[in-house]
């Protein structure tokens, strides 16, 4: 299995997968830690990565340009974790927190609007309509 980087260079890898936190984990035994740091710090290379196995495209990854860490596994396997720009767990959490605040404000505004509408309807039902009905009856008499 190999990765073909955006600049057409290649790296033999053992695996590439998206993890639950949204990061891309690439495992390899084909480069040293220093080489991996150099490769995966080049954002142009990382703009588009194509994973191929026996000339078939297995996966394509775009914009995983945020190099996070090199991880050492047993048997000399090294792993590289990458995030999409703006999509690290901390950034996603901040975005979600901001969205949550905005949604809460919208919910509060809608709730206030709903209460106002309900009060208006209540007033129409208990005051306006009965008054109109009485007025109509008096006119009829």
């Amino acid at each position: 299995m190999k990765i073909i980087f955006n600049d057409a260079t290649e790296l033999t890898i053992q695996s590439a997968e998206i993890r639950m936190d949204g990061s891309l984990l690439i495992k390899t035994i084909s480069a040293t830690e220093e080489e991996l740091r150099a490769i995966f710090s080049d954002s142009f290379k990382l703009q588009k990565m194509t994973v191929k196995e026996r000339e078939s495209t297995v996966a394509e990854y775009e914009n995983y340009t945020d190099f996070n860490a090199v991880v050492k596994y047993t048997a000399g396997i090294l792993g590289v974790t990458l995030y999409k720009k703006g999509a690290t767990p901390q950034e996603r959490l901040s975005t979600l927190e901001a969205e949550n605040v905005e949604l809460k404000e919208k919910a509060d505004a809608l709730s206030a609007e709903n209460a106002e509408l309900a009060a208006t309807i209540d007033s129409v039902l208990t005051e306006v309509i009965p008054a109109l009905m009485m007025s109509a009856e008096e006119t009829t008499e």
Binding site: A118, I121, D122, L125, T126, E127, I129, P130, M133
Partner: protein, 60 residues
């Protein structure tokens, strides 16, 4: 017309949460001072009793 039932019950319960007297006043507005909403009275009474607001049900 289930929406009408729940709406009226909700308005009465909202007032009843302020005071029993306020709840009774609202109840009168819907079911004593006018007969316009008598079609929903029975169902509203059921809701009020079920939710613990029986004290607001008045006849006059």
């Amino acid at each position: 017309m289930k929406d009408m039932t729940t709406f009226i019950a909700r308005m009465i319960m909202k007032e009843a949460d302020k005071s029993t007297e306020a709840g009774q006043k609202k109840y009168r507005a819907y079911f004593v001072r006018t007969s316009l909403y008598k079609a929903w009275k029975e169902d509203v009474d059921t809701i009020l009793k079920t939710d613990g607001y029986e004290a607001v049900i008045v006849e006059e």
